[in-house]
Symmetry: C2
Subunit: 249 residues, 2 copies
Amino acid sequence: MNGENNFFKSAFSVDNVIFGFDEGDLKVLLIKRGADPFKGLWALPGDLVYPNEDLDTAAYRVLEELTGLKKVYLEQVHTFGAVDRHPLGRVITIAYFSLVKISDFTLTASSFAQNVEWHNVEIAMKSKLAFDHNVILETCFNALTHRVRIRPVGFELLPPKFTLTELQHLYEALLREELDKRNFRKKILSMSLLIDLDELQEGVPHRPAKLYQFNKERYHQLEANGFSFEVKESKKKEKKKRLAALILQ
Amino acid sequence: MNGENNFFKSAFSVDNVIFGFDEGDLKVLLIKRGADPFKGLWALPGDLVYPNEDLDTAAYRVLEELTGLKKVYLEQVHTFGAVDRHPLGRVITIAYFSLVKISDFTLTASSFAQNVEWHNVEIAMKSKLAFDHNVILETCFNALTHRVRIRPVGFELLPPKFTLTELQHLYEALLREELDKRNFRKKILSMSLLIDLDELQEGVPHRPAKLYQFNKERYHQLEANGFSFEVKESKKKEKKKRLAALILQ
DNA sequence: TGTGTTAGTGTAGTTGTTACAACTATTTCT
DNA sequence: AGAAATAGTTGTAACAACTACACTAACACA
């Protein structure tokens, strides 16, 4: 890495943290590396960006090559560029996260196919991943938990028809706290962002729940009028207790 | 841009949106370009990242070379990489914003010196800047207005001793809405994040205000205990009116 | 001493948040 | 056919937070 033209002896890649939600669990799609460096470790899907390709395009390409999915939620999060992050040279990477409905999902018959798996996010974060992918995963997970509080992106992870309980479980997984059923329903329904489909679940061994659909048009209407989506319920009383000692000296 | 090794025929730069606050106005530091491309236009300070330099280091370097300041708030925001964003080749840029206290500020006697100026942010956003710097500035400004709602970063823009009115004016500039004096004071003081210095302003032609200092240690204590900083007051009644037509059909 | 200017303060009404438990609809098992 | 199991659905009261709003205090200067 000496000489005048070193500025142009570097490359950039995109890495994509693909989240899905299944069986009450938040999952992330990982690929097992078949070659060095980091052969045998799990890694985030990613690729070098082509010379004539925009960054977002590259991120969509990685996603589509792997999952066959095109129209998904995708967001740039952060760029990682430590000098030594890639063993083979200076490669900075732009990290994205995307949200897919596992119901839509089919692995493409790409060469990787056998080495691609959904992993529970909590477990994946504790495992040793290739490159600096632990940091990238954690950063993207934090970005997701933050985003989900202020934008209704959670719906991107659910099938088109869902029950209020499924929605609540999703939020509980994302926010990592339990929510009160009555308060959650009250709040969500009061936003009038859900369409009541007048359909019931089928094939469940208990009272079937009503099915709902997210009303995207309504959301955009409301957003344009200054509406702000927020899901919280953060047990203020507990906080208050912990803070009392500090604040009231 | 043909041939095998094209992946390594690209470069990356950092661009830094440096915000300051003065005379009730939010400002941004711009450099007038002395050479093509975009000769004569105002641009964000930035530079190519050295081959053995981390991204954050490069952003700090750009800032220090220009202002002489070292310990300032700096945050990565977004990476811009459209294929045609730079007329001379494929150069992606990682955008940062930083917050400086104009009171600390002295321009370094670097070669640029005459061509560096603070610009009102609103006006700068409406002017034609070099490259894609309009988009970068806007993105960073949005990131700042968002960050300022949930973290007490505003204090980075004020001198070490400030009055509550100055603080309020800062927030009004950042949030672009007027705040109620009594409610603002009540809220800020109830957080016990300010140290009352028992000093008064001097040399003002009216009743002098008390001076305060931000209590950083206290903030970190509170943060560790789950405290969340929030400044809003967003005239819910007006919103409600606008929304009523939509929600109550 | 009076005028101009900004600093500083309290309360009541309203809205939003939280905590909490009984009953209902359905399937499965005996 | 009845009982057990499971998850779905619904309201209210206490409390906390937010909003709107107007007068007096302190100082500089003419």
